[in-house]
């Protein structure tokens, strides 16, 4: 398994710098007759949405026609998100207006799911609206692996999270929920998936043939569900991940992360049940997988963590002799 993961890390982990030649990407896309749609799910994002739209439209539609269609799908913002987005020429939809016959649920996953119906692309790129340092790489970095390799069906973004380091080697990983919840769960039950550096990142590109076949939790569990379902159906080879350098966004409070973890855990346990794994738990893995990065090279760090349990002290004879000599 380890060799497979290491090979995957080498062949399916990219850095956006590899895809600087946008003309080449556009040409490859056109040769394959691919159409690419970009979806930005929003809820009260008036501060950052305008910049995302201006930069994506300028760089990825007007200068280099990599994106064929660009939509903002909004969950009912109460600020000027929809007004700002429309003023810069984005197609703006309220999620509740798409497929009204199936009803309206509130959550990011709802917007992502309805985008499959609303948008026409063979590949849909999802980018969150809260990115402060937006740059075209946030789109071309994750769509390029799908254009260049037919086997890849789902590409995730990951980011450099600045941590003090020395000697050029730095710890590299996801956010707090990834490191505290997702990575331990994947390491235990789906060890290959622990090779995804940031499984919860909100930026990913997916082929329609995949999107139309997987269910969508509407809340916090959508990314986790995607990864588990795509992995089960198409295997690790269907995934790629791309380093997009730094992402500056608002930080969430620990209480918000608690809510997120609760939703993710529900999704995870639902999947375990659906896969018939609840009463047939596999042998627990004892290898915990983390990453360290040196430049653009990512190395999987494996640590043996065995949670050995001691018995109740009363079962130890020496203890009984000392404290309960008469028993």
């Amino acid at each position: 398994m380890s060799k497979k993961v290491e090979k995957w890390l080498k062949t399916n982990t990219f850095h956006h710098g590899e895809f600087w030649d946008l003309l080449k990407l556009v040409k490859l896309k056109e040769e394959q007759g691919l159409k690419i749609s970009l979806c930005i799910p929003t809820l009260n994002e008036e501060k950052t949405i305008g910049k995302e739209i201006v930069i994506f439209r300028s760089e990825l539609m007007e200068r280099y026609p990599l994106i064929d269609e660009f939509a903002v799908i909004d969950s009912g913002s109460e600020d000027k998100t929809r007004e700002v987005a429309a003023s810069f020429g984005a197609d703006v939809y309220k999620a509740s207006d798409i497929l009204p016959e199936v009803g309206d649920k509130r959550g990011k996953g709802e917007n992502l799911w309805k985008a499959i119906y609303q948008l026409k692309g063979d590949i849909i790129v999802y980018v969150d609206a809260d990115i402060k340092n937006i740059h075209p790489r946030f789109v071309y970095g994750i769509v390029a692996p799908l254009i260049m390799n037919q086997t890849i069906k789902y590409c995730k973004a990951f980011y450099d999270r600045p941590i003090t380091y020395s000697s050029g080697i730095r710890a590299s990983g996801g956010g707090r929920v990834t490191e505290i919840l997702i990575r331990p769960l994947f390491s235990l039950f789906f060890p290959e998936l622990s090779s995804l550096i940031q499984p919860l990142s909100g930026e990913f590109a997916v082929r329609r043939e995949v999107l139309e076949k997987i269910p969508f939790p509407i809340g916090y569990g959508v990314e986790t569900a995607h990864i588990l379902d795509v992995y089960r159906e198409w295997g690790l080879e269907a995934f790629a991940q791309c380093d997009l350098d730094q992402r500056v966004h608002r930080n969430q409070a620990t209480t918000a992360l608690g809510k997120m973890s609760f939703g993710i855990l529900q999704t995870f346990l639902n999947r375990m049940e659906a896969y018939g794994m609840i009463d047939k738990l596999p042998d627990m893995a004892t290898l915990y997988r983390q990453f360290q990065a040196e430049g653009n090279h990512y190395e999987l760090l494996k640590r043996e963590i065995v949670e050995y349990e001691r018995p109740p002290m009363m079962t130890i004879k020496a203890y009984r002799d000392k404290f309960h000599p008469d028993s």
Partner: protein
Amino acid sequence: MPDTINKILEAISPNREALRSVREILLANAMMIGEIPSPTNGETERITFLSNRFTEDELQNISIDEAGNGMAVLPGTVGERNILVCAHSDTVFDSNTDHAMRVTSDRISGPGISDNSLGLAAVATLPEILRRLDLQFKDNLVLLCATKSLGHGNLEGIRFFLKHYKQPIHAGICVEGVQLGRLSYSAIGMLRGVIKVSVPSEYDWTRFGASNAVAIMSSIVQEILRIPIPAEPKTKIIFGSMRAGTSFATNPTSAILRFEIRSEEVGMVGKLRSQIEDITEETANATNTDINLSVIAQRKTGGLPYGHPLIKAMRKILSELEIKPHVEPSVGELSEMIYKGIPSVTIGLTKGSHKNETNESIEIEPAFAGLSQLVALISAIDGGFCDE
């Protein structure tokens, strides 16, 4: 190309409307440029970005010179003359400032967006603008993103460029983000100086009349304020900043004053400098302290006459846009171009506020008039309507 100035003026309004199609590219350029920190002497990354833009637009002679200036040439159909279109690339903000830009439906805000990310964006977007307007000029356009312009930079970038660029420059346009309607065609005489008062370590604080650095600097300021300043031609002395001391009750042993002299009168800056030097020397002797005056930057007075065809053309262009010209002398790149005898102007592209503050902002809508003005001015120079 239009064969009369009137045809150029008639094209201004339709061009302004047509330029709306370039909105996203212009704004994206302005924001992407603005998000790259570019303090004076630290412009490398921003210039690299701009050079890449020039490369993507397939311009010629793309280069970064020894002073760090980025330049490229958009060749003309005849190519016998060169028009310099220039914007300075440095900002007053250090690299630690949050350079994130924010855009709403009608404005962009963020450090340096008006001074001078928008100006640079106009230069970087000019090839695309001309493509969309289907305009080709006879003259070459030399696009220059100048470094080391502000403060201590002392226009080192443009100075280096003008000294070493081999081709003669026929006319120059300096592009600033704000304010739309600005028309600068004269260089104001200027001197930026620093006065440093140092109290020697062996200073006798018990001596009658002993005074600390703050008090000494204050008396220097008082003396400078007593210098008679003529109202016409316009002259002023600006006290920009003063630093001294560390606490409430500790005698400060040093103080630094930064000031600027500006005058439209030839020779006045030198005269005032000499008077300030006299004040500092006299105060140093009287207080038994070390007082040093150093000059950081200097500009010579000069300019084009009001009736110069370039200025006439520019006034007609602004009038066509129904914008009242705001005439102000410049201490920027224009002064070096005028000093070199190149007929030049500085123009502004849009309206804005809080220049050089972190909440600096520009209005989007007036920028189309600003760009249309730039295109018309280049057309007028190219058409020979600005020649004496």
